[in-house]
């Protein structure tokens, strides 16, 4: 068990390296000189030269990468080309927003998705088939941006029950719509996968055993079926994380929430390479760590792995 987990931890290293390398190469390929957008018109050649030197753009690309890598390994992600703000500081100040959005959306979607999946599976098992399942596929067809805009319109403009966008004073109500939209969006795949996991488990012999024992149906489902389905569901929740990440980038953009995703998209537009690099690496790191936690949780719900 420990060996398995430490192996997984160790595997993150080449992965993060690969992510950084690919991102770096992509950014290197970007057309246009980033300095132009920094200085505007009327800058003298000396000014441009000074800035190129400041940003290290006068160096060959492999030197730039190895420098970046060296600094990053020391925990320094560099500074934004545009604002001069240390990238790490930007990440630290914006992470709470993303974290809050993600945690709210994740909780909402997990509760909603898992219970929806269970309900659908249990009913389907009793013979009320497909409509609910079809509805889930339909739900999965709605793009998150559209869901965000619909939430904005229905709850923000039409009913006026929540602020339409922005962080406001940072209070919870400003997260209601984005977290709701993102949560609903990520709930659907969870519901689908929980449903199929539950259906699979409900057909297992030990469920029949539990029924043969005379357990009430509720206990059969919650104690015996769900606990086993959790083994799959935990993986499902884990695999939904990257979905959540992508969703949060788009949600933050639509709702104008100053989180990591917003930072990233803005930086992409501004050609702010250090920030883009920082965001990608940060996301890859968070994602790997989350997957690691999922592995832990997986081991925890599954005695087979826990005891080995």
């Amino acid at each position: 068990m420990t060996r398995y987990l430490s192996r997984r931890l160790f595997l993150m290293v080449p992965l993060l390296l690969g992510v950084s390398l690919i991102t770096f190469i992509l950014l290197y390929l970007v057309p246009g000189d980033p300095v132009h957008s920094l200085v505007g018109e009327r800058a003298s050649p000396e000014t441009i030269e000074n800035i190129r030197r400041e940003l290290g753009l006068d160096l060959p690309v492999h030197v730039r990468y190895s420098r970046w890598l060296g600094r990053t390994l020391r925990g320094d992600l560099g500074r934004s080309w545009v604002t001069h703000r240390p990238v790490r500081e930007s990440l630290v100040t914006r992470f709470p927003v993303t974290l809050r959005l993600s945690v709210l959306a994740f909780t909402f979607s997990s509760v909603l998705g898992v219970s929806l999946g269970i309900v659908v599976a249990v009913r389907e098992d009793r013979g009320i088939d497909h409509p609910a399942h079809r509805l889930l596929i339909a739900g999965q067809s709605v793009p998150v941006i559209y869901l965000c805009l619909l939430f904005m319109y229905v709850f923000g403009v039409w009913m006026g029950v929540a602020p339409i966008s922005g962080l406001g004073d940072g209070s919870l109500r400003h997260f209601l719509l984005p977290a709701g939209a993102l949560g609903l969006y990520t709930a659907v795949p969870k519901a689908r996968m929980t449903r199929s996991a539950m259906l699979e488990v409900l057909r297992q012999d030990y469920v029949r055993t539990a029924r043969a024992k005379g357990l009430p149906e509720g206990a059969v489902i919650w104690r015996h079926a769900l606990r086993n389905a959790m083994v799959t569901v935990v993986t499902v929740l884990g695999s939904g994380l990257s979905n959540l990440l992508v969703g949060s980038v788009l949600t933050e953009t639509v709702f104008g929430l100053p989180g990591i995703g917003k930072l990233q998209i803005d930086a992409v537009w501004a050609r702010d390479f250090p920030v883009v690099m920082g965001c990608f690496i940060f996301q890859a790191l968070v994602l790997s760590l989350c997957n690691f936690v999922v592995d832990l949780a997986y081991a925890w719900v599954n005695p087979r792995i826990r005891l080995e």
Binding site: L15, V157, S242, L245, V268
Partner: protein, 297 residues
């Protein structure tokens, strides 16, 4: 033939096929179907709500929203088809090679696959589109380059299962070259899997195109694209919500159609799912749902 008949009996697949056929017809006959040319402006009739003259209203130039949605099907379908073909050709080739050659080639290809898969797909597509600069080819390339690893995984798995089967042994014994083995014997056997993944991939592609266009990285005006209609309509959410609502519905409907068709095809074509049981786990790789799930190894 049997598959076609089965598909005809699959209710969901029929609905999916209907929607997809409708989309294709919309794209092909857009000039006939659309009540107005998509870029016909009536500057005196801007932001008109849905009504008799303009079924779905007009935008900020007085262009007919319905006509633009109909023409928008062209963008979505073209992007989907081209990007998926690109992803499929790349993915299938690498998958065949990895599965058949094994060893070093397999290792290298699968490491690459894992690396690409650990990027959330849309973020990778954003990175690629920025690196390539906006434009139609960018969309094809970006979405194609994002889509191949899932396909590679699927095909590789299929090949691994097929590799030890007798007919291959026989062909090999008869002196078929590697290329011929791959082309004639392995590829057709992977075709059902690829077809299923392709259809599912279309759904994710349409979704991704919308997201990229929404961010301004997609189709270039005046080409009416559903995603850019969403993004350009957004400032008018207060006064003219129809600019957002209808294009969004179009996206959702298209994705829904392809998802249903993909699910139906999977039930019918893929022997592993052919039994009446629903799949126990999610489909591997990105061929699956919209935006896919980054596969965990």
């Amino acid at each position: 033939m049997r598959s076609v008949r089965l598909l005809g009996r699959h209710r969901a697949a029929k609905v999916g096929m209907g929607i997809v056929a409708g989309l294709v017809a919309m794209a092909l006959f857009a000039p006939v179907l659309a009540p107005y040319p998509p870029d016909h402006m009536e500057l005196g009739r801007v932001l008109a709500p849905p009504g008799r003259t303009n079924l779905l209203g007009t935008d900020y130039f007085g262009r007919d929203v319905l006509s633009r949605i109909i023409f928008g099907a062209r963008v979505s379908l073209t992007v989907g088809v081209v990007a998926q073909l690109l992803a499929a050709s790349l993915g299938v080739t690498l998958g065949l090679l990895a599965g058949y050659l094994g060893g070093w080639a397999d290792l290298a290809i699968m490491r690459l696959v894992e690396l690409v898969l650990c990027f959330p797909d849309l973020l990778l597509a954003i990175g690629l589109s920025v690196a390539l600069g906006p434009g139609p080819y960018t969309l094809f390339l970006a979405l194609g380059l994002v889509g191949w690893p899932g396909m590679t995984r699927l095909v590789r798995g299929e090949v691994l299962a097929l590799r030890e089967r007798e007919f291959l042994e026989a062909a090999r014994a008869a002196g078929a070259s590697t290329g011929r083995l791959l082309r004639v014997h392995l590829f057709p056997n992977c075709l059902p899997t690829v077809l299923v993944a392709l259809t599912g991939g279309m759904a994710s592609c349409i979704m991704a195109e919308a997201s990229l266009s929404f961010l301004g990285l997609g189709a270039q005006p005046p080409t009416p694209s559903w995603g850019s209609m969403l993004s350009l309509g957004r400032p008018y959410l207060h006064h003219a919500p129809h600019l957002v609502i209808f294009p969004g519905l179009a996206i959702a409907l298209a994705v829904f159609g392809f998802s249903l068709l993909g699910d139906g095809l999977r039930d019918v074509l893929d022997p592993r799912w052919a039994c009446s049981r629903p799949p126990a786990t999610s489909r591997p790789g990105r061929g699956g749902g919209p935006h896919g799930q980054a596969g965990r190894s």
